[in-house]
């Protein structure tokens, strides 16, 4: 059975929250790299330029994760409202089948609830599509992070005494990028699974 959308959206939000925490770690790595580049002086001129990219990247991932996290939380709240309306409609259908004497008196509210449910479902579909788009966008940052890690390794090779320390920083960047990618993959998988199951249900 498919997990309800409000659980999926909340899980996506949680994954992006973790991605944001990882990105904060990346920002710290950038600060360490800058300090090291200053100490190493002329041997790490190329690396110093890379530290700017790492800082920008960390800031971009934090900001993007925050947006997606907020979007997913909002979507989860909307999905709960839709679930309430859906639940109410199921009860109303049962009542309709009983044909109580004053059934007509409740019809306007049933219709209103039905309309609200349609509107909410439509909003949810759009919201989920947007969320998938935003996560796809985040993968660009991962590709950038991997490029930066490769460049850092190249710069480390010419850094003499500082080579080992710079290689640690380059590894940190790659590992952090991998961890962020893992969170994005899990979020993506949750959303894709829901999308597939919704298609089958249709």
């Amino acid at each position: 059975m498919a997990a309800p959308v409000f659980i999926i959206a909340a899980s996506v939000s949680a994954e992006l929250h973790q991605a944001m925490i990882e990105a904060r770690g990346l920002a710290l790595t950038a600060k360490n790299a800058r300090a090291l580049a200053v100490r190493a002086g002329s041997k790490t001129v190329g690396f110093r330029a890379i530290t700017d990219f790492i800082e920008e990247l960390a800031s971009a991932i934090i900001s993007q994760s925050r947006v997606i996290n907020h979007h997913a939380e909002k979507l989860s709240t909307q999905a709960v409202t839709a679930w309430h309306s859906d639940n109410a409609m199921a009860h109303f259908r049962w009542v309709e089948a009983q044909k109580p004497e004053h059934l007509a008196s409740i019809r306007p509210h049933i219709n209103q609830c039905d309309k609200q449910l349609d509107a909410l479902n439509h909003e949810l579909q759009i919201g989920l599509r947007d969320l998938i788009g935003q996560i796809d966008e985040s993968y660009k940052h991962i590709r950038t992070a991997n490029l930066i890690a490769t460049s850092s390794h190249v710069e480390a090779a010419t850094a003499g005494d500082f080579r080992e320390q710079l290689e640690v920083i380059a590894d940190n960047i790659r590992k952090t990028a991998d961890r962020i990618a893992a969170h994005l993959n899990r979020a993506n998988s949750l959303l894709s699974q829901n999308h597939r199951e919704r298609k089958i249900a249709c």
């Binding site: 109303f92 009542v95 409740i106």
Partner: protein, 245 residues
């Protein structure tokens, strides 16, 4: 859902809904009440989510949706009012009367449309159609913010958990012998009612009323002479004492 008319005088009616045969096992049986007068009706302790559909269906047999202008929740328990989120869709223009103490808790059941009317600690009187209903304080019986409903014209006291008994399905509607009924109430009252002082205060308050029917939220209802029998039994019963050695 079994519907029983408890009182009828022109357009003034009390209807009790209970003993739902479709009720899932493991859910405590509850008595719900509808009071009608003129073009208005109030639902007392409308019940839990599981009972919503049979309740709505039963109620619509007697009164159109726009006629149910008020809801009353004696306290915050799920068997009293967890269906609120669904009534909120069915009766968006209704008002919910409930203890002020529980407002921010009861709203957790979902309330976007219905208006919360907070009952102050000392209680209040409202007009329903052509009659007056009094919300009588019953704090700590069992909830720390708790009210009962008194309809002086009909002489009916909706007494919430006071007088409640946990019985087998199919039990009769009326108490016919206090001697046989008391054991079914004893543990419930001793465990759920925490305060002897609150109990005595309530007994003093309701003893002044001319009660023709005492209608609890679980189990059988009381008529004279069993109303007075109950008050005497309750007065001597130590409560808040169900503590394991």
């Amino acid at each position: 859902m079994l519907a029983t008319v408890l009182y009828e005088d022109g357009d003034h009616r009390w209807i009790m809904f209970a003993r739902d045969p479709g009720k899932p096992d493991g859910i405590i049986d509850t008595n719900q009440y509808l009071i009608q007068s003129g073009n208005e009706a109030i639902l007392l302790d409308p019940g839990g989510i599981e009972l919503f559909a049979p309740m709505l269906s039963s109620v619509l047999k007697y009164v159109p949706a726009e006629g149910i202008t008020k809801l009353f929740a004696s306290h915050q328990d799920p068997d009293i009012i967890s269906s609120l989120g669904l009534w909120d869709q069915a009766l968006p223009n209704a008002e919910l009367y409930s203890p002020w103490l529980w407002e921010s808790f009861i709203r957790h059941f979902g309330m976007n449309n219905i208006t919360y009317k907070a009952i102050p600690d000392e209680g209040m009187t409202i007009t329903l159609g052509r009659i007056q209903l009094q919300f009588i304080p019953a704090h700590y019986l069992h909830s720390s913010g708790n009210f009962h409903v008194w309809d002086a014209k009909a002489g009916i006291l909706m007494s919430g958990d006071v007088g409640a008994a946990l019985e087998e399905p199919g039990a009769p509607l009326w108490v016919d012998s206090m001697e046989r009924h008391a054991p079914k109430m004893k543990k419930f009252h001793q465990r759920w009612m925490p305060s002897d002082a609150a109990k005595h205060d309530w007994i003093r308050r309701v003893s002044a009323l001319d009660i023709k029917i005492m209608a609890p939220q679980h189990g059988r209802l009381f008529k004279p002479p069993h109303v007075a029998d109950f008050l005497r039994w309750f007065e001597q019963l130590p409560v808040g004492v169900a503590i394991k050695g």
